[in-house]
């Protein structure tokens, strides 16, 4: 199963902001829940999320347990050159995930 779903417009206009939507599959475990045996489930959230555009960081987010499970982010990036958006995130357990999307500037 994919770890994330990314949505970027097929074509974007040069120097104009375009919408990026990302949904990462992650339980965003708060650390306040207990399992069936009463044992505390350790906190594990996607703490850092980074979006790079042709290698340059254009957006990043630091998240807490205050963000709902399967964190969804929608933000804007300014279109410069055709290329690639890369998304990277890391959770408290140190597990990394990444995803990419092509950007075509017209």
């Amino acid at each position: 199963m994919p770890d994330a779903r990314v949505n970027v417009p097929a074509e974007v206009a040069r120097d104009k902001p375009f919408e990026v939507r990302v949904l990462v599959r992650h339980p965003m475990e708060t650390g306040y829940r207990t399992d069936d045996g009463g044992k505390a489930i350790p906190r594990n959230v996607v703490s850092t999320f980074t979006c790079r555009y042709n290698g340059e960081t254009v957006f990043s987010a630091h998240l807490s347990p205050g963000i709902a499970a399967n964190p969804y982010l929608r933000f804007f990036v300014t279109a410069r050159e055709s290329g690639q958006l890369t998304f990277e995130w890391i959770d408290d357990a140190g597990i990394r995930g990444d995803e990419r999307a092509a950007v075509t500037v017209v």
């Binding site: 254009v58 963000i67 982010l73």
Partner: protein, 157 residues
Amino acid sequence: MTMDGSPRQRIRRRLLQGGAALALVPWLSARGAERDIADIPALAAFLAGRTPRWERMRLDLPALADNGQAVPMKIAVDGPFAPGPYVRVIRLFSQRNPVPEMATFEFPVAVERIEVESRIRLAGTQRVVAVATLSDGVLYAVGADVVVTIDACMDGT
């Protein structure tokens, strides 16, 4: 003057009270902003005495959230920004969550359209405040109240 009077006098009194209350509204909202800062220690710690401008920002949250586990949230800062200072960081603070610093959104590169959408968890009815830092250091802020029917993190807390 005694408090009881003819119905007419009572109506007049009510109207006068209402008028006085209306005149208080701008003053109260300014006071409300101060209360926000006092109510959220993490926000006060971040501001460290600085006063944000309570304008130019929007924080869309439902007035009533049935389920605190996933509440749709949208932050926007009204442009235009170019060629002036642009938005660098937006911080989101919660009044009642166990982790009051809910999220930080960073824009290392200038964007003309500042809009961030996500879904947040809310541990009960509370006020949420977003603060934007511009590249020239000016702070803007906005608050929103949400009534939460079912709290997030109910078990274990």
